[in-house]
C-alpha cells in the first residue's frame, strides 16, 4: 500500500516515498482469449515489476475428449477428428493417423499412395510454418510478413481444396489409401506454386533476418538448452533450434523419406530467433523434397487393392459389382478389420512429433487410442522458460513456439 506522507518539501517527499516504497508481486492472467496465446491457452503469470517470477499454464479449454471418442467409433470414422488436432496442418495429421493404423494392420500402401501422402505432408508443413512465422512476426510487431505469408497460405489452401474438397477439414486419408486420387493437372499446379513461392520466402526472410527490431525482440529470448529440450520432450523445430538434430524423416524414415535429399536445419542457441530460422529453412527444404518428387511421380494404384477387409473400393465398382458392394457394406458397418495388439507410431509433423498409441482387441474399433501431441509436450516447458524474462517477451516466446491448442487439449 502506498503511504501517505505529510512533509512540505517536495524533494524530501520524493526521497521518503522511494525509500518506503512497498512492492508486491502482481498476478496476471493472460488468456484464455488473448491474441498472443493463439487459441485458448491461459497463463497464470506472477510478476515482479516487469519480470516474470512464476508461470503456470492452464490448458484444457479446448478439450473435446478425442481419445474417448476414438474408442467409440470405427477407425475410418476417426479420420475427421484428426483434422481437428493440429488444425493448421490437417493433412499431416490425417497421414500420421492412417500410417499408425496401417502399422497395426501391417499393411503397405502402394507407391503412388505413399508419394501423394508425402507430398501433402510437405505442403502441410509449408502451410503450417507460413502461419507460424506470420503470426510470430505479427506478435512482435512486424505486420508485413504476416500479409506475405498469408497470401501464400491462401494459394496452398486453394490447392488443398482442389485435392480434398475442403480447405481446412480435409479428412483426406482412409485406412489403406486415400479419399481419392489427385485431380488432373494438380501436380503441375503444385510445381508452379513452388516456383513462385521461393522468391516470396526470400522476400519475407529479408524483412526479418537482419531486422534490428526483430533481432532485439527474439535473440536470447526464451533460451532452451539442449539438455532441457530433450528432458521436457520438445520436438520439431523447437527441439532442433536447441541443437538436437532429431527429425524422424531422417532418423526413422516413413513414406520413403530416405529416398530424398534434404537437410535438417539445426539451431545453436535455442532462442526464439533460432526457432524462426529453423522454420523458414524447413520450408525451403520442403520445396526441395517436392521438386525431387514431382518429376518422378509414381503411377499405379493409389490405395491398397488387396486389403479387402480394410479399404472400401471406389464407388463406381461398388454400384456395379456384387462382391465390391458387400465389401463396402462390411467396411462401413463394421469398420476396417484389425488384428489384436499394440502399436506406437510417430510422424514428424510441422509442430513436432505426433504419435498414436493404439491398443486393439481386434475388430473395427480401437480399445484405447492415445494421441501424443507435440504442442502438449512443447508447452510443458513454459513454466521453466518464461521465468526470468520480461512480460513482453512472453509474447515472443509463445509466438516462437508455434503451438496449436486443438492438438494440445485434444
Amino acid at each position: 500500500m502506498p503511504k501517505e506522507i505529510s512533509i512540505p518539501d517536495t524533494g524530501a517527499r520524493v526521497a521518503m516515498a522511494t525509500h518506503d516504497f512497498d512492492t508486491e508481486k502482481l498476478e496476471l492472467n493472460i488468456g484464455p482469449s488473448h491474441p498472443s496465446t493463439h487459441g485458448v491457452l491461459r497463463l497464470k503469470v506472477e510478476l515482479d515489476g516487469e519480470i516474470v517470477t512464476k508461470c503456470d499454464p492452464v490448458i484444457g479449454y479446448l478439450h473435446r475428449g478425442d481419445e474417448k471418442i476414438a474408442e467409440n467409433m470405427t477407425y475410418n470414422q476417426f479420420v475427421p477428428y484428426t483434422d481437428r488436432l493440429d488444425y493448421i496442418a490437417p493433412l499431416a495429421n490425417n497421414v500420421a493417423y492412417a500410417l499408425a493404423v496401417e502399422k497395426l494392420a501391417k499393411l503397405e500402401t502402394p507407391e503412388r499412395c505413399q508419394a501423394i501422402r508425402l507430398l501433402i505432408c510437405e505442403l502441410a508443413r509449408i502451410s503450417s510454418h507460413l502461419l507460424g512465422i506470420g503470426a510470430f512476426a505479427m506478435d512482435v510487431g512486424a505486420f508485413t510478413v504476416f500479409l506475405f505469408t498469408f497470401e501464400e497460405r491462401e494459394k496452398l489452401y486453394r490447392l488443398f481444396e482442389e485435392l480434398t474438397g475442403a480447405r481446412f477439414t480435409t479428412s483426406y486419408t482412409r485406412i489403406g489409401g486415400l479419399q481419392r486420387d489427385i485431380p488432373e493437372g494438380w501436380l503441375e499446379r503444385v510445381s508452379a506454386f513452388c516456383e513462385q513461392f521461393l522468391p516470396i520466402i526470400e522476400e519475407s526472410d529479408k524483412l526479418l533476418l537482419r531486422n534490428k527490431i526483430w533481432m532485439d525482440r527474439t535473440e536470447g529470448v526464451g533460451v532452451i538448452s539442449k539438455e532441457d529440450a530433450i528432458a521436457y520432450g520438445l520436438t520439431g523445430p523447437n527441439l532442433r533450434a536447441s541443437g538436437v538434430a532429431l527429425d524422424l524423416r531422417k532418423d526413422k524414415p516413413y513414406l520413403g523419406y530416405e529416398r530424398f535429399e534434404f537437410d535438417v536445419p539445426v539451431g545453436t542457441r535455442g532462442d526464439s530467433y533460432d526457432r524462426y530460422i529453423c522454420r523458414i529453412e524447413e520450408m525451403r527444404q520442403s520445396v526441395r523434397i517436392i521438386r525431387q518428387l514431382i518429376p518422378n511421380f509414381p503411377g499405379g494404384a493409389w490405395y491398397a487393392e488387396d486389403a479387402k477387409r480394410i479399404f472400401a473400393p471406389p464407388k463406381a465398382r461398388v454400384l456395379t459389382k456384387m462382391e465390391e458392394l458387400i465389401q463396402n457394406f462390411m467396411i462401413v458397418t463394421e469398420g476396417p478389420q484389425m488384428p489384436a495388439g499394440e502399436v506406437y507410431f510417430e510422424a514428424e509433423n510441422p509442430k513436432g512429433i505426433l504419435g498414436f498409441y493404439i491398443v486393439s482387441k481386434g475388430g473395427g474399433v480401437p480399445w484405447r487410442l492415445k494421441i501424443r501431441s507435440p504442442s502438449f509436450c512443447n508447452l510443458s516447458i513454459l513454466p521453466k522458460v518464461c521465468v526470468g524474462s520480461m512480460i513482453s517477451d512472453v509474447t515472443a516466446i509463445l509466438g516462437s513456439f508455434d503451438f496449436v491448442m486443438g492438438e494440445c487439449d485434444r
Binding site: N72, M73, Y232, G233, T333, V343, Y357, K370
Partner: protein, 207 residues
C-alpha cells in the same frame, strides 16, 4: 543378436521379474511396478533411451489389475523405441504408480494428464492436479465405465452456477456416429451411447 534381443538379455539379467510383452512393432517389456523407476533410469543412462516420448495408461475394465501404465522411450542417438508397461498397484478405483518426474521433468504433464483422464495416482509427483478437466471435476473420463455422452455435473465456476442454475449436461448423442463397443463386431451390438429420448421429429425433453 538384434538390438531387441540384446535389450532383453540386459534387462533380464538385472531384473528377473521382467518379461517380454507382446507387441506388433517395438521391443516391449512388462516390468514389476517396484522396479519401474530403476528400469527406466537404466534405460535412460545406460541404454541411450534418453527421450521420453509418451506416458499413458490403459483401462482393461474386467481384468485385475485393472490399469496398466505404458511408457514409450526413444533414443536420440540410436533412434529406436522401447515400450515399458507396468500394472498399477492399488485397487480398481485408486490405481497407483511411481512418478518419474525426477528422471524426466517432461513427465510432469504426462502424469497429470494420466491422473486426470484415468485416475492413476503417481506417487511422488510434485503437483498432481487435473490438467485438461477443471479442478474439482469428480470423474475420470477415459475409464471404461464413464459414458461417452458425459455425466451431469455442476459448473466449474460457483458464481456462474449460482446465477444460471445450470449444470454441465451430457452431450446429446442422437444421430451420432457412435455405434460400437470395442472388441466386438459392430453389427452385433446395440448402440451404446445413442440417446433415444429425442430425434429430428421428437423434441428434446427439456428444450
Amino acid at each position: 543378436m538384434t538390438a531387441a534381443a540384446e535389450l532383453t538379455t540386459a534387462l533380464g539379467a538385472q531384473w528377473p521379474g521382467i518379461t517380454e510383452r507382446p507387441s506388433l512393432d517395438h521391443p516391449a517389456f512388462d516390468v514389476p511396478l517396484d522396479s519401474l523407476v530403476a528400469v527406466l533410469r537404466h534405460l535412460r543412462d545406460s541404454q541411450g533411451y534418453d527421450f521420453l516420448a509418451d506416458i499413458t495408461a490403459v483401462d482393461w475394465k474386467d481384468r485385475t489389475p485393472r490399469f496398466t501404465v505404458v511408457y514409450h522411450l526413444f533414443s536420440t542417438t540410436h533412434h529406436n523405441y522401447v515400450r515399458i508397461a507396468a500394472d498399477c498397484a492399488g485397487d480398481t478405483v485408486n490405481p497407483e504408480a511411481p512418478s518419474i518426474v525426477e528422471l524426466w521433468p517432461g513427465a510432469n504433464w504426462h502424469e497429470r494428464e494420466c491422473f486426470d483422464m484415468m485416475g492413476v495416482k503417481f506417487l511422488g509427483h510434485p503437483d498432481l492436479r487435473r490438467i485438461l478437466m477443471w479442478d474439482g471435476y469428480p470423474y475420470f473420463p477415459l475409464r471404461k465405465e464413464f459414458p461417452l455422452a458425459g455425466i451431469e455435473t455442476v459448473l466449474p465456476d460457483d458464481e456462474i452456477a449460482a446465477v444460471t442454475g445450470e449444470p454441465v449436461r451430457p452431450a446429446p448423442m442422437a444421430g451420432g456416429p457412435f455405434v460400437a463397443t470395442p472388441g466386438l463386431l459392430v453389427s452385433e451390438n446395440e448402440p451404446r451411447a445413442k440417446d433415444e429420448s429425442w430425434n429430428e421429429r421428437k423434441a428434446k425433453p427439456d428444450a
